[in-house]
Amino acid sequence: MAPTQKLINDGNHAVDEMLRGVLAAHPNHLTLAAPRAVIAKHGPRAGKVALVIGGGSGHEPTFLGFVGKGLADACAVGNVFASPPPQPCVDAAMAADGGAGVLFMYGNYAGDVMNFDMAAEMLEMEGIEARTVLTTDDIASSPDRAKRRGVAGNVFIFKAAGAAADKMLPLDEVARIAAHANARTYTMGVALSACSLPQTRRLNFDLPAGEMEIGMGIHGEPGIRRGALKPANAVADEIMDAILAEMNAPAGAKVAVLVNSLGSTPLMELYILYARVAARLGAADLSVHTALVGPYCTSMEMAGASITIMHLDDELTQMLDHPCDCAMFRVG
């Protein structure tokens, strides 16, 4: 099979070249603390809990793009779809540390857990307290929340934790709010095409035209099941049925919504989905406080979309509204 069409140089250097480009494009926001450890220019400061995020590359603007004042202080950058090793996690944490402890946040994947846990052990030896809150918002990936993957809900969950840290709350509180944000965030996605790794440039799975993967993650791994490609409203309904049933929010509750492109699904399709999501939320008497529509957590060139709903309370609303200024995301 012919290699997939990509604008890259050498697949083995794609992540480092991307990183070079990101740093060149955003010199006011980002700088390098160590190889593969990116730090916010105006985020970390004495007495502040350091929020350190990270994960594999290929999900841009997740994770890199959410480093900045008011959100994450630093980020460890892995290979494509591969957790970063412990060293950049440690480097990111040490560079961001303000003496008030470090909170690691990342999606719940075996690889990330192993690497970040090793990093936390290494930090302990340096006398730096590191806590971890995993994101587990992908409701399709397991009936058991603790076993779920972290996907696009990252955006809201990191945002809430970043705001808590920026408000100079202590580590316990930041971790509590992060876990609280995660517990109230629900995502489900579908994929309409595969993606391909820069090194192999082969589609990582075969999806016949007219079909879709339902319950898709963000690493090109197959979804929970395969089904016929349905109209946008039917797809939105299937996802919203699942989310609303789990979320079980009372009438009148406020939510934050993210309709996310997995990569190549354009804004036109996302807004068509959003129109239906808004109608469904309205019918359930839920009011939208924040709406994000766009590519926020991607799998390179994969086609597809996910819908995330965060069930807000006053605390989470305050955290989402808190200003942040990142290279690829701003609030306020």
Binding site: N79, A82, P85, A110, G111, M114, Q199, H219, P222, I224
Partner: protein, 199 residues
Amino acid sequence: MDFTTQNLTALFENLAARMSAERDALCALDGLIGDADHGIAMEQGMAAAALAVPNLATLQDQFNAAAKAFLNAVGASSGPLYATALMRAAKAAGPRAAMPRSETPALIAAMADGIAHRGKAEPGQKTMLDAWAPAAAAAKSGANWAEILSAAQSGADATAAMQATLGRAARLGERSLGHKDPGAVSACMIIAEFAKALG
């Protein structure tokens, strides 16, 4: 003849070459139930390990250097798992420039322990441990290298009939059935290179 640091350097070169040759096949396997990158991780990890091991005085130093290099090049799941495996092998080899070939099966047992420890894994969960654990059991029971390899291969073959309960594929439920675990398949390749060097 003892197994020397030179021999270990050569073994890592073979491992790097093998993983490079199998990269795309392993990625394709990982694509079926995972994220299609396992071959890349193994290629990068073993390439980095092979670069790290020459000119070190002891087998222990070599395995430790390989562990660190593999981990730093890769991350992912394979990184911590093989880094821990290789650190356990370092301990088993000890601070010496050579070890009797008869003792080398203990390296396999040590590596399997490391993987089980780091991955909090048990056999039957459809992971690389399903190749490493039977290989380790064979090694501990005094089997020869051919028997160790064959144990690993039977274990890897058996993963096709398992439903994954650990790692990325665990989210697929029944969809993981019918495909071999990529980590178990690459484990057999590694053990095969050990067997070629030591058998």
